[in-house]
Subunit: 286 residues, 2 copies
């Protein structure tokens, strides 16, 4: 396992903080430099041991880093990577943890042609399928990535050595690394993450106030992710708008089948739909 001399984490919330804790608990990095917009968050991350030092600015954060992990909201990633790339030394690899990839990867391939982009600085996208409805480094965990999937999104321009280094990085944090094109990632995640989030929020929103006290475990599980940050999720949904619309339309078509079966009192068809859903759910496990 490679040990990194210096990893910079830009944004030390739940995900960034967990990257830091995981790196340090596994002895994978000597220095973990944190940077972010909120001083209090940085101090919490430092106190919890997620980072070894707080940088005063982005320049200082990335200047020594061999790897920069940008853990910003989806809408801020392109700009933060562009800024970071200006200050990195040659050979630095930059990655992100954004929940959408196609727009980010495309825009950063363009940005890498700009004169200000650092010489021999490379970007390769990541998306750890980890995290939950909570926010902030106080919820971070050294085991957040253990046995979770991390998608990395190489393009034809990605160098083999960067691909190997990034795969090794996430594998070192305990993850199962799955390489995939950014487009394919976004199509898949529309179905497995962004649609469930939208629907969970719609279920919560459709619950009449007067009945809220009559919710139980089923409602609570089904709507749990609706407690997530509205700003972050608005950005994710808009960044993956086209794929999410397609997923939503497929879902609405299936929902119409359910309605028809229920309206007709068709017990056979209802049980078939329930059985098919259970088959897929059981295949995933808890």
């Amino acid at each position: 396992m490679k040990a990194w001399n210096c990893v910079a984490i830009v944004g030390v919330g739940l995900i960034g903080g967990s990257v830091g804790l995981a790196l340090r608990s596994r002895g994978m990095a000597i220095k973990v430099v944190g940077f972010g917009s909120r001083r209090a968050t940085l101090e919490t991350a430092n106190k919890l041991g997620a980072i070894t030092e707080i940088a005063a600015d982005l320049n200082g954060a990335v200047a020594e880093a061999e790897l920069v992990v940008v853990c910003a909201p989806v809408a801020d990633i392109v700009e933060q990577v562009r800024q970071a790339a200006r200050f990195c030394r040659p050979g630095t690899l930059i990655t992100d943890v954004g929940s959408t990839k196609a727009e980010i990867v495309a825009e950063l391939e363009k940005a890498a042609e700009e004169p200000a982009w650092g010489r021999e600085v490379h970007f390769l996208g990541s998306h750890p399928l980890a995290g939950n409805e909570r926010k902030g480094p106080q919820h971070a965990s050294a085991d957040l990535f253990a046995r979770r999937i991390v998608v990395i999104t190489p393009t034809p321009r990605t160098r083999n050595e960067d691909r190997s280094a990034l795969a090794e990085f996430w594998a070192g944090l305990g993850a199962n690394v799955v390489p995939m094109s950014a487009d394919e990632h976004d199509r898949a995640l529309a179905a497995t993450s962004h649609l469930p989030h939208l629907v969970a929020a719609a279920i919560a929103g459709a619950t009449p106030e007067r009945y809220v006290t009559l919710t139980a475990g089923g409602w609570q599980d089904t709507t749990r992710i609706a407690a997530g940050d509205p700003l972050l999720w608005r950005q994710i949904m808009l960044a993956n708008r086209t794929n999410l619309l397609a997923s939503l339309d497929r879902f609405a078509t299936l929902l119409a089948d359910w309605r028809a079966a229920l309206d007709a009192g068709d017990a056979v068809e209802l049980e078939r739909l329930l059985t098919e859903a259970k088959r897929i759910r059981d295949a995933v496990g808890s």
Copy 2:
């Protein structure tokens, strides 16, 4: 707290088994007689201490009971209560734990007029908002009802002493008892339980096979209840068909608002919808 000399449990699965365990762990019943169609299930319940004896038939199960708790699938409850009511001694109270109430309560009020219905035997419906996607007494727990809501559904014909006795029974198992008409119960549960179940199943069913490995915690939470028993849920949905159709149509209308906001790229409206959902979800808590 009243101690019962003899409680009969008809159907000793997750719910019936938990009633037995809770009664015994709290010293609330001297005898807990179990009856059901599967010998192996009864033996498991007996071994786990959920019941103190196994009855050979329904007659034997209820003959001595002061309280009979029918824990059968929704579609079997009316017939099982009718059968039980023939063999009960005068003064016995019968309840059920069905997830729908209006049909069951209406049919049993009619059945109570039949000559075969035992003299001074009374039915009063219950619905514990507890349970999960698992089945069988091996998953039962003495704490399943602790701090959970149990709805009881008195009618104008319900005697005050039965209402008090049943409320005291569930409160003794740790529950918060909420009396409500059967119709109001079914309207509320359509929104808080039956619709979430249908939608969770539709989300699971709408997930393309090839993307199933890319699911994570959000998908898992949102679809968890889709692992429930298709036969039981088919029965619940059909027994509450009219209310569930109305809830489904309200949900579909809201979903159309989400689609319109997404299609228009309307960040303000998307964030408003997400924020409203989070407000309701946060009010419930985990």
